[in-house]
């Protein structure tokens, strides 16, 4: 996929990471409840999940914006949370996050130029003239005309604002960019433009992305590998297209089937699984497998025991008691050879 030579090794790795909310003597909400994976340098790692799955919390914890309540976070071979705060502040400039709502991301009283220069100002990088020159260069990289520099946020369209948001995140030349639902608020044609822009910027800046979204189509289009989250846990992860084309966890299977299909033959062939109920209460998580309350395949063992994450196929990790059964049942969709090589090349 990526022709440029990338240094190998993980950009971010988390091991048994926990993030909990709630004060003493109060109900504790375990937003992220023990996740383990590594994002390789130069990779686009997708995280899929519905509201309340913990995907945004995980994203924020990965860049050090939230302190985990347990487990380990590594940025390359640095343990960012062990750094003294002054060093941590310098370190985290290389790990940027872009949020969904560009309206909330900009100060309405600052022009785009001021907003773009602010990170450099805080980091005390360069002189004023250099900062301004860099801001203009960055506007060009995200395909915004230079006259945008003197506009205020309300004068930009949603798509333009999101471009400016990306430009600002790139001002400090990060190594890793966590993109949290960055295209969710945009119309499809603009969404397509943005996804193309993300792909181009990765090449230009040698970036590693963590792409968080609820949209299966978007994540599978852009990502090399994806992790599917449900209720604070990763239920499945592996090469993006394999996971989407041949889910090995009932939740992924249901998510895929809930995605409306625009191609008639596929819509007809599709077995629709409509999950009952909603994501359970975060204060009282279900026993055993957390998905058992909604799972069409749940049996007694699911209520009692939590399934362990296993590597079922090379690179494909699943946490379900009946994943083998699902694998035997699932008919691999007609896979074109080009797609297989593409998916594995992305790893």
């Amino acid at each position: 996929m990526n022709s440029t030579m990338q240094p190998v090794g993980p950009a971010i790795s988390v091991e048994n990471l926990h993030v909990s909310f709630g004060r003493k003597n109060q109900a504790v909400i375990k937003a992220v409840d023990g996740v383990t994976f590594a994002v390789q340098k130069g990779e686009i790692f997708g995280i899929i999940g519905e509201s309340g799955s913990g995907k945004s919390t995980l994203g924020r914890a990965m860049v050090g914006l939230l302190r985990p309540s347990g487990g380990e976070l590594m940025h390359g071979d640095v343990s960012p949370l062990a750094l003294p705060s002054s060093e941590f502040n310098r370190h985290r400039r290389k790990y940027q996050i872009i949020a969904q709502d560009p309206n909330a991301a900009f100060d309405p009283r600052m022009t785009m130029l001021q907003s773009l220069c602010e990170p450099l100002h805080i980091a005390r990088e360069g002189r004023r003239a250099d900062r301004i020159a860099k801001a203009f260069a960055m506007l060009e990289r995200v395909a915004l005309p230079p006259e945008m520099a003197n506009r205020y946020p309300h004068e930009l369209s949603g798509g333009q604002k999101q471009r400016a948001n990306i430009a600002r995140a790139l001002m400090l030349e990060p190594r890793v960019l966590v993109c949290d639902e960055v295209v969710a608020a945009l119309d499809v044609s603009i969404q397509a433009d943005m996804l193309n822009l993300f792909a181009r910027l990765r090449e230009e800046f040698n970036l590693t992305y963590v792409f968080i979204s609820h949209d299966l189509r978007v994540v599978s289009h852009i990502s090399d590998r994806v992790a599917v989250m449900y209720f604070g846990k990763i239920v499945e992860f592996g090469p993006a297209r394999d996971v989407i084309d041949r889910p090995l966890h009932p939740y992924t299977e249901a998510l895929r089937s809930a995605e409306p299909e625009v191609i008639q033959d596929r819509a007809k062939a599709r077995k629709r699984i409509v999950l009952q109920g909603e994501i359970p209460s975060a204060v009282n998580p279900p026993s055993g497998c957390r998905f058992h309350t909604r799972c069409p395949r749940a049996r007694d063992v699911c209520r009692a025991d939590e399934p362990k994450q296993r590597e079922l196929l090379p690179g494909r990790h699943v946490a379900c008691h009946f994943a083998e059964e699902l694998m035997a049942q699932a008919e691999p969709l007609a896979v074109q050879p080009s797609r297989i090589s593409e998916a594995s090349a992305g790893l």
Binding site: M1, E50, S51, S157, G158, G159, D187, V188, S189, I190, Q191, A192, D193, L195, N196, A199, H214, L216, R217, V218, S220, H221, I222, R241, I244, D245, A254, L255, S257, A258, E259, P260, E261, V262, I263, Q264, R266, A267, R272, V274, L275, Q276, E278, I279, R294, Q336, S338, R339, E342
Partner: protein, 338 residues
């Protein structure tokens, strides 16, 4: 309700027939036209999807049908025939009888459509009592039945709750219960699942389709999600910059769009069966309402534009399809999955 008659209605006859609808709104800078000559129709029991991107006028069309546009700062033109009543010319008293009884609406954000200070049971019962002469007790009973019909597990209990204590999916179910409690002939659903998760979206869509089939309520379904339209509608209408640019049976349009804009929209959806790489997108932006091109409004962004496109485009009819593009016959446009 006795003012609305459906006497001459047959299967071919439209339940809702919007003819040449125009809408202008006034702001500080003066009048601006947001809908231009919009025509579309919905037959009894039919589900019609209206698609288009933000600002194309799909929501304004929906609001115009219920005359929920601001009275002093808007001007409606053309006709909106509902049975034999023209909703553009109808009196406000007539509209009050129609809203919620014969035509009802579900909005995208149920939290802002529900009143936070009344229980949901009370709000549904209020709708019933507004249109039928029945006792409070009877209306409360109808509210509980309505909640039951939308698949709420303990309707008696939920009726006593306030909107804030319900989840997004539950609130949308309550909205549907409220919209359908008087068994309207037409339901306008404006992005009813956009704020919901996909697994909940699937539940709500199934529910809407099931209820529509059961009660015979026709649906005008406004959305930007082409997949949802494909999955649930009989016909679809594409809008762009305040105009209808294409309409026809849903799978026909999706497989073989006739208008370059419909084709562009369909093509920019990421698809796992296509090789990865650059996604096709539509260049440029929707023109500003105050600076609409004189001819085809899509012309500045269209890769098939020729000099003749700067002349005003009229709707062309081809069998059961309509398209606002003079080049429709010579163009062979890509649909979904091609």
């Amino acid at each position: 309700m006795q003012h609305v008659t459906f006497g001459c209605e047959t299967a071919q006859e439209s339940l809702l027939d919007i003819q040449g609808l125009t809408l202008s709104l006034r702001d500080e800078e003066g009048w601006v036209q947001v809908l231009n000559n919009v025509s579309l129709s919905v037959k009894p029991r039919e589900i019609v999807g209206v698609v288009g991107e933000s600002g194309c006028g799909k929501s304004m069309t929906a609001l115009s049908v219920l005359r929920l546009v601001p009275p002093r700062t808007s001007k409606l033109g053309g006709k909106i025939m509902f049975g034999s009543t023209d909703l553009v010319a109808a009196s406000e008293a007539e509209m009050m009888r129609i809203r919620g009884r014969h035509i009802s609406m579900i909005f995208q954000e149920p939290m802002s459509a529900l009143d936070p200070v009344f229980t949901v049971g009370h709000q549904i019962a209020e709708t019933v009592r507004r249109h039928f002469k029945i006792s409070r007790k009877e209306a409360d009973k109808r509210a509980v039945e309505a909640l039951d019909a939308v698949g709420i597990a303990s309707p008696r209990h939920v009726a006593t709750l306030y909107p804030m204590s319900l989840s997004g999916g539950m609130r949308q179910r309550v909205m549907i219960a409220m919209a359908l409690v008087c068994e309207p002939r037409l339901l306008i659903a404006d992005e009813p699942t956009t704020a919901l998760d996909v697994t909940i979206q699937a539940q709500i869509m199934d529910l809407l389709l099931e209820l529509s089939q059961k009660t015979g309520t026709a649906i005008l379904f406004i959305t930007h999600n082409l997949g949802l339209v494909a999955q649930s509608c009989h016909r679809m209408v594409t809008m762009y910059a305040g105009e209808v640019v294409e309409s026809g049976p849903v799978w026909d349009v999706i497989a073989r769009p006739r208008h370059p804009y419909s084709s562009g929209l369909l093509h920019s959806i990421p698809d796992s069966s296509r090789p990865r790489g650059t996604l096709p997108s539509i260049p440029g932006r929707v023109p500003s309402l105050r600076a609409m091109p004189a001819g085809c409004r899509f012309e500045p962004r269209c890769s098939y534009a020729v000099p003749e496109c700067s002349a005003t485009q009229t709707i062309q009819h081809i069998a059961d399809r309509e398209v606002r593009c003079h080049r429709f016959a010579e163009l062979s446009l890509a649909g979904a999955g091609t």
